[in-house]
């Protein structure tokens, strides 16, 4: 039932990797991952990381994929994060003005990179300026209790785009524990406001398309049939890549338990092209 990952990867020229559950876990990049990436790079394959993570800028993420033997294996242009997609949206559609954000002041690079001026939601409490957008950042551990009510009320008064920097519902925090992620907060607020937010990240096609265009700019002969998406989650990695029209490998090193994989595929109708135990097998 399982195929060796190396044999699967052999058939493709471009490989998209999910980060968490594939290349890393809650303790960081998996020890053997740089060697696997180096092997693929040495075969001339293009490698990309597609991650629903907006907690750090792509440059910082890229630096994590390195070791002393192989050097840096993923360049900043090869990291496509949901935060980068949020920046794209703000740059293309919103363009200028104030963007009120829910999150930590240290995470506003996604807003500034789009040419907008960030203002913390809590700084809108007493003097609420006219806004161009509201952005829900993706800060692990940020205490949004007080600010979320303020965000809801500002969104009731000002009809501006609301951008969610990560559409995931929860994130793993070690052991088998999870924490509520900003995608869940966004869904909750959409329920109260009955408005449609802009959710960045897999399974939406935008992230796959961004990576595809990057791959084509490096090698114009690349087609969709040359690309493999490797992920651990049916509902984001595999569904999104399937819809985008590229082949998919589900690895069982993350959220999908090996014992339940077949039942989940059957129940959901989300069908990966390949099943692999991990990228190391």
């Amino acid at each position: 039932m399982f195929e060796p990952f190396s044999a699967v990867a052999d058939r493709y020229r471009v490989i998209f990797f999910d980060a968490y559950g594939v290349l890393k876990n809650s303790k960081g990049v998996l020890p053997g991952a740089p060697a696997v990436l180096a092997g693929l790079r040495d075969q001339g394959k293009q490698l990309f990381v597609l991650t629903n993570d907006a907690s750090r800028p792509p440059a910082q993420m890229a630096r994590g994929y390195s070791d002393e033997v192989h050097g840096q294996l993923i360049e900043v242009e090869q990291v496509i994060s949901s935060g980068l997609l949020a920046t794209e949206f703000l740059r293309d559609k919103v363009r200028h003005g104030l963007a009120a954000y829910l999150g930590q002041p240290g995470s506003t690079h996604f807003i500034e990179a789009a040419g907008l001026t960030p203002i913390a939601i809590r700084d809108c409490r007493d003097a609420e300026p006219p806004l161009s957008a509201i952005v829900l950042l993706d800060d692990e551990g940020f205490d949004w209790f007080e600010d979320i009510n303020l965000t809801v009320n500002i969104a009731r008064r000002q009809n501006v785009p609301i951008v969610v920097a990560n559409s995931d519902l929860a994130y793993p925090v070690g052991g088998h524990e999870v924490a509520v992620a900003v995608g869940s907060l966004a869904n909750m607020m959409e329920g109260i406001l009955r408005k449609t937010f802009i959710h960045c990240g897999k399974p939406d096609a935008m992230m796959f398309n961004y990576a595809y265009l990057q791959a084509q700019s490096l090698d114009p002969t690349v087609t969709k049939q040359d690309i493999l998406m490797v992920g651990d989650t049916l509902a984001s990695d595999i569904l999104g890549a399937n819809k985008f029209g590229i082949d998919t490998a589900l690895v069982l090193s993350g959220t999908t338990q090996a014992s339940r994989a077949a039942a989940l595929i059957e129940a959901s109708g989300i069908i990966p092209t390949f099943l692999c135990e991990s990228i190391f097998t």
Copy 2:
């Protein structure tokens, strides 16, 4: 288009009132409400308050409906709150054991009244006992930020009923501001856990049925056609009462703006029997 409330009320022997937006607002019971209630009582009508509010016990709620002239107008047996429904569920289905709660220690009367032992979620952090139920209380202003992740993780480990003491998504906090209510938190957690919680309160039929049985115990000749539900919200008061099979009056003194009432009725297909400006007209 609007009918006088007094003329509408004349046709019924039993009147169910929503509290917030009908009899009270964020400052408390409306000044003229006791006189209206007294007038109806003097005509021999049975009066009940059906409220999605579990922040205080029914006895305390009942005391609010009084003034110096008319005395107490609503007895404790006439207040049917979502908290009371939560107690009923815990008593009928769960019966004994520990109920871990998200909320303030002062609000656990709903759990104790059912014969269960409350334990705060945060007291389960270091030593997690076997639970019989998890209860999401309805505390205005409770800071659930830390406890919500703990609640999610306990619910992933222990498959026990999860009871939501109030199914409302938001509650008004004065001016035109709202705050996130426990019903929204419950929906968010259901999305993460993919489990079905027990939501207490309108529009579910249980609250209407409880009030109906109370009315019949006082007067066995009462039928559904003798009852009017008066509320300010289509999606809870009017939808629930319509489904339960009783007549309904939508008042425009609360969440439904007069200028948008007709459009909202048309768009939702939730049709009140009567439209009244308020209970004072």
Copy 3:
């Protein structure tokens, strides 16, 4: 893990049975069912059938629960069908006028029993009269292709209650085949119209309450703790009875496969009080 049904039933004074998957299958009432029902009756237990089935009147359904040895085991008053609930709603809320129906002319007894005048949707095509309600009947095999567009368009023009006589999404048709049921058509129409219909049947509390009141009228000492619901489907039988506050036994003789029961209970958070292989064990 499984408990013998007879030992479970011993603890209760009133037993609610789902029909399909418990007492009958696509070929009719199971051969051994009358003997089981007779045994329970002889022990003095009250028996009810609660069924999401509006294709025939309760009297006709009741006659099916009989054999030569034991006679008729279920009386018409003991059959609570979703069709009966539809009649109750039409009688209590709609009361008079024309009810346009989607379905077969022979199935309109639910409308007539409520004192309304049925008119086929297709007879509204050329001369559309003012309606009091629209009713989606529960006819197996009715070809709704032509009439469904007409129903949608009438519902866009006339804002009247729309009653769904059975909330099930599909029904079994023998072998392992299913057919689209009227509950699915209703959901589809709600998506197009963005209106809220009145769905009759489990898991809604109304059906359980109706049966509960019948049980109490026969024996006023009955409480919820005296009642057991026996069903084969977590999302309707067990969820609805749990919410209503009565004990539940999931039997594995119908839609829930024995091999998957534990996983489904864990995944859904819908927890039956007891697990039994069937009513015969």
Copy 4:
């Protein structure tokens, strides 16, 4: 509040048009549309039609945008239909084998264009072959009553991708009447099967991206800021284009009534860049 369409269009180099409600109605292409298109073409703008319509091949659609004075104004490469997207998906992901279709034998060009062999669902009744995909075509007026149950049962047995050639819920049929569209049937089947289908068409980003790549292949200097999407529907045209990151003009010549436009924008949070009465003003 309204801006003249010609002044809005002046600011862009590429214009994406929705077809129905913008360029055509139930009687065909609007009489003045070819002149408007010709004027834009003569200003050197690239023009595309993005349509949730898979009932005819793009070549046939393109021929409709012509008149005696101006000749053919839209070439086949400029028509991006949901059917074309379905073909792309089948070609990229499914590639070969049998595709069972729900629809008319004359509409299978989308399947054949992808290199697959179409087989009617009803021809799978007696001898069900192994399938590579199931395709729900977009045939106006096709009687799917009998075939839909067969499709559901095949999809329960064979876990293959299910492609929906048009994600719209309903389509207009003249006057103010609508008819159930294949997107509604797909949602209904997903509810019964609890599987995720591949829905082709707006608001999904894939259609916008396809058109964008076409525009760039003709003129590599085109960026997203050069493109305007013109549509009559907030939830498909405007939402999808907003998410894709291009400017939008809502025209009030189709499904969105002028009197309700402001309220719908406020209620949905889907905000067009411009509001125009029609493309003729």
